[in-house]
């Protein structure tokens, strides 16, 4: 409350602020939610990932294991960072009082995934990316789904473990040409089964993180 508000009954906002109404409050809520999750840092890291992808694609061969492995690593890193942003610094109080929290979590995870796909696709725009933009979208979505699921199980701070471990599983799959659609990065971009698996994992991750949020760790 400022000095100008002295004398005014509690809960009575100025007319201008009342006019802005719930829209402004919603935006402020979204901004505070994003700030508490370090979304700005996440965006900076995503931009750095796009730059790294662009630099890597300049040097990488157009086909072969390395043409897939290094872009996949960057995509997994982007997904890991999105997973890390789900961690809440407030824990139980926020969970108990935040009525809009599930919607904010849903919006944050979906928007950040979209931004990750967009920035990485922009980074790869002027170069040849094995698998193309469709493969990139599939892989980033799948990796992000794993990160969100890991966040729900282990906590936001440890959400990176899921995509990184999955990436480690993917590397032998790339060299051995595994055919299971659950290792979607090893499948061609037009593989329908792989796309369905990645979409299912992403949808599952978003649903779990929307409903439950990242696991709170009492000491963090």
């Amino acid at each position: 409350m400022t000095a100008a508000d002295v004398g005014r009954p509690a809960g009575q906002a100025p007319a201008s602020r009342r006019a802005a109404g719930p829209k402004l409050a919603g935006l402020r809520l979204a901004r505070l939610h994003a700030a508490s999750r370090h979304v700005l840092t996440c965006l900076v890291v995503l931009a750095a990932c796009a730059v790294a992808l662009r630099i890597a694609l300049h040097w990488l061969p157009r086909s072969g294991v390395y043409a897939r492995q290094i872009p996949l690593t960057i995509e997994a890193g982007a997904a890991a960072v999105i997973g890390v942003t789900t961690g809440s610094p407030f824990g139980e109080p926020e969970r108990a009082t935040g009525r809009w929290l599930p919607w904010l979590r849903l919006a944050a995870s979906v928007v950040l995934t979209g931004i990750a796909v967009g920035t990485l696709a922009a980074g790869a725009a002027a170069a040849h990316l094995a698998g193309g933009a469709a493969g990139l979208a599939r892989d980033v979505a799948g990796f992000t789904g794993i990160a969100l699921l890991t966040a729900a199980v282990l906590g936001g701070g440890l959400a990176w473990i899921g995509p990184m471990a999955y990436l480690a599983v993917t590397l032998p799959a790339l060299t051995e040409n595994w055919t299971t659609p659950w290792i979607w990065p090893a499948r061609p971009p037009h593989d329908r089964g792989a796309a369905i698996c990645a979409a299912l994992v992403f949808a599952g991750g978003v649903a779990v993180i929307t409903v439950r949020g990242a696991r709170d760790r009492a000491r963090e």
Partner: protein, 523 residues
Amino acid sequence: MTAATAPAAAPRAWRVPWPAGPARLLRIELRRSPMPWMLPLLAVLFWLSAYRMAMNNPPFWNIRSATLQANAMLVFAPLLAGACAWAGSRDGRRGLTDLVGVTAAPRWAAQLATWAAATIWAEALYLAGVAVLYGVTAHQGAWGGPLWWPVAVGVAMIAASCAFGFAAGLLLASRFTAPLAALLVFLALAGGAFAIQDNVRYARIWPLSVQGPFPTNSYGIFYPYLPDLAIAQVMFLAGLTAAALGATGLPAAAGGRWLRAAAAAVTVAGLAAAGTAVGLAGTARVEAHGIVIPALHDAASDRPVPYTPVCSRSAVPVCLQPAYRSYLPAVTAALGPVLGPLAGLPGAPARVTQVAVTSVQSAQSNGIGFGGPVISGRPPVLYLPLSGLSLPGEGNVSVAQFTSGLRQQYGPSIVNELVGLPPDEAVGADVASTDAVPDARHAAQIAVARALDQIMDLTEVGGGSPARSGAGGAAGSGAPLLARQEAAASHRFSALPAAGRHAWLATHLAALRAGRITLSEIP
């Protein structure tokens, strides 16, 4: 009691004897470390990336140890860096930095205990994996003994990735540090592997390179495993570990002036060691038995490993190094159809002896070419290198594929050498391919060689060479006259009965080899 009368020393019960201090601190950190929670995941990844891959290959110590260095590290190092970054940033994340900064023990010592605890857990898991893998390999009857240098590189790599992650977490305590540390290590490993593939000279220092371009089954059998590159890699990784850990002792909160000076000295020494190792890797050269770094090379490694060969009881005995004992029937079956029809001819091999690679040639994309089989001595012996070939059980290679591949790859070379065509320069490369159109001097030799290839069903490789396949097509109306004559002679010779062919070769092989036989003289 007033402050003035308070005893100077702490109550006896609170005092811990100094020698017990670090051990107690380490014991506490071993309990607090997040690494035990990572162990199940790391164990699964070890099984998936190293153990399963190793078991998909035949029981050779060199193949099995290579997976422990390259495959295991590719999945271990990034996750360990992330986990150690998580452990390193613990105090910062929990807002305890000021609280723990005023404890009696220097912060650097406590931080090193945290790193040591995480590293001990990781090393314990890795060494347990090594014990299982080597135990199974020994149980499968692998010849020789386990190779420990790749394991040493793995141990050093684990310490280095933990140190890097820990230093990153300590100096930049943020929720993003752990994933970024893991990502950076992943990218560094992948980038290093790409640089190795691109034949960048200094990239050999990267711990994913076991013996440079050598296939994993091509070293450490006939000659001892050359540890030169591994020594440089351990030196590099130890230097990086020291530099990273030294860097954690540089901030003012880490301890007193002397302690920080010591940390700075450790950092500088670590960087110097790592730089020296990179420089040494730049001097590495590819030799027949592995990577040699002159400054680190021990001449004792150049002495061959003694062994008693195992031999078949076939018409032309095949003798292999005992590590290849289980492949003796397959090699005998592969070479039998080639050597059988040639037996008894002057210059034809009376025995086959497996030998080490005698010459290597670096190729693009971290490739390597090995010298092929050679016939020499009196009585003639076929000296046969098997290194670099895909053995049965290696990946999806079956015994039938190996037998066929060996015959197709070496059969034409044996025939070439027998009829006096210039010796091959590389395995599987048919020397006749250097003459796209047969000249008069070699025409008879090529005709006979092609006929023998056809009879022995060696046409897959031999047929790929312009000279041998070209004449078949060259027999058409537009082909040069010499090529048509050569094709006709080859056809005539292959149509002869086996006994007649053998008799003619027994009589005329010396003249054919000397280039004194013309196409018209071939029956």
